[in-house]
């Protein structure tokens, strides 16, 4: 059965790095993986493509028109056969990026491109409009992972996404659920404890703690994922552990988002 997961979190928290390494680890574990970058920045799959920016679905539609496009124009094969798609979108400050995500999904559906053992959706920082909630809608990702550090604003964004999941999960046909929290650490004291407690309080679990490690930056400077660049490093082990946890995870919940006061109190407890 195909597993569809989406990673959401605050901008700059490391969703794309985590997604790419997760996809790489899943692929090496034998899964047929499709990673879809849902962000106009279009850099989700870059490390899987060895530093290349692949043409985005939206750019191709704009240049050629959707009638001229074929599946192979938008799906590009990267590290270890991982299929990569970038939704793309408008330049900052114009148009509607959310609508771009919806249009991309419609096109991928038309091409029958949404296939494989695992689809990883890497989604822009926050659920800013209905377009960026598209991966959570029925027929797409059933499992939502929150990527967060222990910083308050990162937890705040994760909590907001819990609100979106809760809202969407109340729909009759919705299969979207919170699958867990991934701590992409900033090296704060007691950070793992804090994020684990946050996960518990929003009715979920911490599925993986990923420490801060300069090997991540080194791998990216070499235009590779950590899994490819330093497969024997402890950090690669963390990503493999994440992949294993994702594969076996069947603990899907409807989240219970916190009030802002409760969130701040939680952060204070771990200062």
């Amino acid at each position: 059965m195909m597993k569809q997961i989406a990673l959401y979190g605050k901008g700059g928290i490391g969703k794309s790095t985590t997604s790419a390494n997760l996809s790489a680890a899943l692929s090496l574990q034998g899964c047929d993986v499709l990673q879809i970058g849902c962000d106009p920045k279009r850099d989700s799959t870059r490390m899987l493509m060895h530093g290349n920016f692949i043409p985005t679905v939206m750019d191709l539609v704009r240049e050629r028109g959707d009638a001229q496009l074929k599946k192979e124009d938008v799906v590009h094969t990267g590290f270890h056969g991982i299929r990569c798609v970038e939704a793309g979108g408008p330049e900052p400050g114009v148009g509607c990026a959310g609508r771009g995500i919806i249009a991309t999904f419609q096109l991928l559906e038309k091409f029958g491109a949404l296939s494989g053992d695992v689809i990883v959706y890497d989604v822009l920082g926050d659920v800013v409009c209905g377009g960026f909630a598209m991966p959570m809608r029925e027929g797409y990702a059933q499992e939502i992972y929150l990527v967060t550090s222990g910083e308050l604003m990162s937890l705040y964004a994760a909590n907001n996404i819990c609100k979106a999941i809760k809202r969407l999960s109340s729909r009759v046909k919705s299969t979207c659920r919170l699958a867990g929290v991934i701590c992409n650490a900033k090296d704060m004291p007691r950070e793992e404890e804090l994020v684990a407690e946050f996960a518990r309080r929003v009715n979920s679990t911490l599925v993986q703690y990923i420490p801060r490690d300069r090997i991540v930056q080194l791998a990216e400077l070499n235009k590779q994922t950590v899994i490819e660049f330093a497969p024997d490093s402890p950090q690669a082990g963390k990503y493999r552990a994440l992949a294993a946890a994702v594969v076996k995870n069947n603990s899907l919940t409807i989240p219970a988002p916190l009030e802002i006061d409760a969130l701040e109190s939680l952060a204070l407890e771990f200062m």
């Binding site: 704009r62 979108g89 408008p90 330049e91 114009v94 148009g95 509607c96 609508r99 249009a103």
Partner: protein, 351 residues
């Protein structure tokens, strides 16, 4: 962010800013109106304006161009599409281009003002609309008149103290021409003539003379913001409304005469005679019982109708013959005459 500005029953009087503004801009001859949005917005408005024109025995030659936004323009922004539509409009060799926007344009944040502000070689005037986001139909009418007035030359000396402008006619209302003719007739009793119809089938050159009048006659109190603007721009005072009903017509003559520095007494006397003659013609209906198909559209209409009922000694009751309520208040003595003709037909038919 606007809350819902529409009345509960918006079937006839409601609508979005786009339709209201188009009811004005399409009435400027030598112009083209560019609707920045999906083709459907232009289609529906074209259909509505054309059908309403036909209903008023007026075949409207609507000059509309749509920027034809589709999914790609929504995603990547529609300013290029707007630019192309404006270029297409300019190729028609018109004197002015009006640009109106739709809901989706405002939602995605296209900078319509910046596109209009480029050097196009002819005036390209942005009319703030934004579909339902911009407000109601009436907001669109006011915004269009305000935008058009903004393109006119500044203060000029009145050319003639005896000419007046008509401001904000309801171009889509039933009897728009009849109402205009009645106001023109009443003004003529005072020796006043009409300068500019702002805006009803008006050429751009005529509009340039807007500041030459000594008085503005507003269609109704919803036009007050436009009247205020024209006062600030040209120092032209305004009469707040077309005359409604019998005594309303006499009041109109008095207020207008006073403001224009003309003794209104002879005109009022003539009009009283006309009204008496009118009521004599309908005296056969005295004592009849009526009931109305709708409630009066507003307080002035209610007053005007009550006055006619009292003067003709009519009665209102649930067993009366059903007579039509005018969709808008009867303008002038002749508006009352048309209303009474309809009532008498209904009475005679025993409806």
């Amino acid at each position: 962010m606007p809350s819902n500005p529409l009345p509960l029953n918006s079937c006839r009087s409601g609508g979005c800013t786009l339709t209201g503004a188009l009811s004005v801009t399409t009435s400027v001859r030598d112009s083209v109106s560019v609707i920045h949005g999906p083709a459907g917005c232009a289609h529906h408005n074209f259909s509505l304006l054309h059908a309403t024109g036909l209903d008023n025995d007026h075949v409207a030659a609507l000059n509309l161009i749509s920027s034809g936004m589709q999914d790609m323009e929504v995603i990547f922004g529609g300013e290029d599409a707007l630019g192309a539509a404006i270029r297409s409009a300019i190729r028609q060799d018109v004197s002015v281009v009006y640009v109106l926007s739709t809901c989706i344009v405002e939602t995605i944040g296209d900078d319509v003002a910046a596109v209009c502000g480029r050097d196009w070689g002819v005036p390209v005037v942005r009319v703030p609309t934004a579909g339902f986001l911009g407000g109601s139909f009436q907001t669109g009418v006011s915004n269009a008149l305000t935008a058009i007035a903004g393109t006119m030359p500044g203060r000029v000396l009145p050319k003639d103290p005896h000419i007046v402008n008509i401001i904000g006619e309801k171009n889509l209302e039933y009897e728009v021409e009849e109402n205009y003719r009645e106001v023109a007739r009443l003004l003529a009793l005072l020796g006043l003539t009409i300068n500019v119809r702002f805006v009803h089938c008006t050429g751009i050159n005529e509009l340039a003379g807007l500041g030459e009048a000594s008085l503005n006659i507003l269609r109704d109190d919803e036009m007050q913001p436009v009247g205020d603007l024209l006062y600030r721009k040209y120092r032209i005072p305004s009469i707040p409304s077309f005359p409604v009903g019998l005594s309303g017509s006499l009041d109109f003559l008095k207020v207008t005469g006073d403001l224009a520095g003309i003794d209104p007494a002879p005109a009022i006397s003539d009009e009283k005679d006309r009204q008496d003659s009118l009521l004599d013609g309908f005296s056969g209906t005295a004592g009849s019982m009526l009931r109305f198909s709708l409630t009066a559209p507003d307080l002035p209409a209610n007053r005007a109708i009550s006055e006619v009922i009292a003067r003709l000694d009519l009665k209102v009751g649930k067993d009366g013959a059903r007579v039509p309520m005018p969709p808008s208040p009867p303008v002038g003595t002749e508006g009352v005459r048309r209303m009474l003709h309809r009532w008498r037909r209904a009475l005679n038919a025993g409806m």
